[in-house]
């Protein structure tokens, strides 16, 4: 335990927020949960994992029937079933975009009437439920809220499946810019004053023709209402951004070694470095075993292919098996090794490229089956921990 430099263990011991990012389908949610579970077991304190999707499988693995916007504690039985005595507590929550937006409006609305009008506005309902970028923003906002309440020692966050990694990181800033933009004022002005100056008239004519004036009026009403929340909102967005940049916050890039996720991970690493955000670790999932890189074994696979018939005759002698069938098994074995050796070599190259940047690189082997309980989660956690 003396030397803790360069491990997920020491990383999480020194940070308060760990944000897992990476492309879809690489095991991001599971990795975030495994890291949080390990921290609860080994470090103690109160650890929270926040997911962005309804991770039903994860919920049942944690011994919960489900979890929502309100944090739920993972029951002690889940740990005792896994045969461990955790030093601390593990909690889980799922980000509910709609509920989080509603909470935000309630907090920032100047009065009850404005609050209700916003909550009832059809555009607001659309935005809070469906608008993808709002999802990015609200994830960061909710993270800020939980952190500022000071109820947890460590928060591990799974990020939304954004199309573009930058969207997520920049969401607070863009949200603040959006509400302070000149364009927004330009569009709202005529509905306030009815006086349209000549220069901007074509703009409204086109907007009217495309969208219909009623719809435009709806938009304007929505933003006029929303602007009443502007000061609180912008201040909040700035605070969220500061938290992301704080040295208590770290990012963990999660990937597999397939071509597309690797490209995404590289891109993410670049973005983090150009924005001077802390890249704490690179976690590689589903890595093939290293024996596939053994050149001697690859040669022997070749020998096996060439001499399958002779060897089969020797082997079949004692067992009474059909030599041609034994030969086929040996041939498949040789072929299979060489097939996967190609994949393993390709992935090893990808891994070397990726591993140049971060201090901590953890590799998780390809597991036989999916994770169904806390023991499985901790098994994954063990693979990345130290």
């Amino acid at each position: 335990m003396a030397d803790r430099v360069g491990s997920i263990d020491s990383l999480l011991a020194s940070k308060e927020i760990a944000i897992a990012c990476g492309s879809g389908g690489v095991g991001k949610t599971t990795t975030a949960a495994a890291a949080a579970a390990m921290a609860a077991v080994h470090h103690g304190g109160k650890v929270l994992v926040v997911t962005v999707d309804p991770a039903k499988r994860l919920a049942s693995a944690l011994g919960l029937t489900g979890f929502g916007n309100v944090e739920k504690r993972v029951p002690a039985q889940a740990f005792s079933h896994a045969g461990v005595q955790p030093r601390g507590e593990l909690w889980a929550a799922m980000l509910d975009t709609k509920q989080s937006w509603d909470a935000l409006v309630r907090r920032h609305a100047p009065d009850a009437r404005t609050r209700d009008r916003i909550l009832e506005n059809p555009l607001y309902q659309n935005i809070s439920g469906k608008f993808v970028q709002s999802h990015d923003y609200i994830a960061m906002e909710r993270l800020y809220e939980i952190h500022s309440e000071g109820r947890f020692d460590l928060i591990v966050v799974d990020t939304p499946p954004t199309r573009n990694a930058v969207d997520f990181i920049e969401a607070p800033q863009r949200m603040a810019e959006f509400f302070s933009s000149r364009l927004l004022r330009l569009l709202i002005v005529p509905y306030r004053s009815r006086v349209i100056n000549l220069a901007s008239r074509p703009f409204y004519q086109i907007a009217d023709r495309i969208l219909g004036s009623q719809f435009l009026a709806d938009i304007a009403e929505f933003f006029i209402l929303f602007q009443t929340m502007y000061p609180g909102f912008v201040a909040r967005a700035r605070a969220v951004e500061r938290l992301v940049r704080d040295n208590r916050t770290t990012f963990m890039v999660v990937s597999t070694l397939e071509a597309a996720p690797v490209r995404e991970a590289e891109f993410f690493i670049d973005v983090l470095s150009s924005k001077k955000l802390h890249l704490g670790a690179l976690i590689l999932n589903r890595v093939l075993p290293s024996y596939l890189l053994d050149e001697g074994a690859n040669d022997r696979a070749g020998l096996l292919l060439a001499g399958a018939d002779t060897l089969a005759a020797d082997l079949a002698g004692g067992s009474g098996a059909d030599p041609s069938q034994v030969a086929r098994v040996l041939t498949e074995m040789g072929d299979n090794f060489q097939n996967f050796a190609v994949v393993a070599h390709r992935e090893a190259t990808q891994r070397n490229e990726l591993a140049k940047v971060p201090e901590v690189v953890a590799a998780v082997p390809e597991f036989d089956d999916d994770i169904h309980d806390l023991a499985g989660l901790l098994r994954l956690g063990d693979a990345i921990w130290s």
Binding site: S23, G24, G25, R57, L123, N126, I127, F131, P161, R163, F178, S181, L183, L184, P202, F203, Q205, I206, D208, R209, I210, L211, G212, S213, Q214, F215, I219, F222, F223, E258, A259, A260, P261, R263, P289, Y291, L292, A297, R300, L303, L304, L311, L315, S319, A321, Q325, V326, R328, V329, E332, M333, N336, F337, N339, F340, V342, V343, R346, D368, D370
Partner: protein, 321 residues
Amino acid sequence: MAAASATVALLDRKLLFVTGKGGVGKTTVAAALASLAADRGKKTLVCEVDAKGNLADFYETGPTRFEEREIAPRLWAMSMDTEASLRQYLALQLKLPIVSRVGPLAKMFDFVASAAPGVKEIVTVGKLCWEVRESHYDIVIVDAAASGHIVSQLAAPQAINELVQVGLVRQQTGWMLDILGNPAQTGLVIVAIPAEMPVSETLELRDRVASETNVDLAAVVVNRVLPELFSRGEEDIFDRLDQPGNAELIDSALGGPARPLLDAARLTVTMRRSRTEHLERLRGAVDGKVPMLYVPYLFFRSHGLRATRQVAESLSAELGY
């Protein structure tokens, strides 16, 4: 809808949206289907919708843009650009020459798109439907949004229809809905791999598409299917080979430890077995209702034109060509 899936051959449709959970090979399958259609003599447009934009890598061709470009005989490629699409639409459909003089169209569009969810989506879907309506191509194949976002993309015309009561946008949604809702013209292809989450998402998506859109599910493509290493009898033989006496015999015949070879075979058998369970779950829920196409795991090339060609060959065989 199930009847339509069975009767309309996949590549005889006019508009195919290819979707799937991230990381399952959605773009590979879209690129391969487009190659296949072009090879079979159809004038084909393949369009990537995702801003991430790496469709070009799948054809080893230069970057694709909004303006369609012929990258192989009969195969045209483009990348969706919502602002360019809106500009084209305004010029062509609404005959609004004034647009060019308005100035910050991009900003205005950004604003409207941010304010009204569905605007970006409808400009995307609208351009694709328009290509179909004008019969510029025999088939349009879309590397569409991932499974998390595809429903809002496909349902955009309906959503706009409900949200915008008057105006030109409203007038434009009717014909789009007709094209999207006609199974002889439009189909959705979901790509999955035999793993727990992708299979679950495929089944959830199928239900959402059925209840929230009018688009027909045309096919489910199962990508990266591992070949069966051993038959049942062969697996028994393998188990016996993996016993102390036999393993040593192989060691001496090969002049070194055969352990890695045995372990690799064991790994493949285990991986194949756990994947088969997921595949069976998918098959149980989908097979017989929607055509299922299988694409084998590629060992030698995981991406690039060669991989696209190999997937196209597999799909061709699966479609009975």
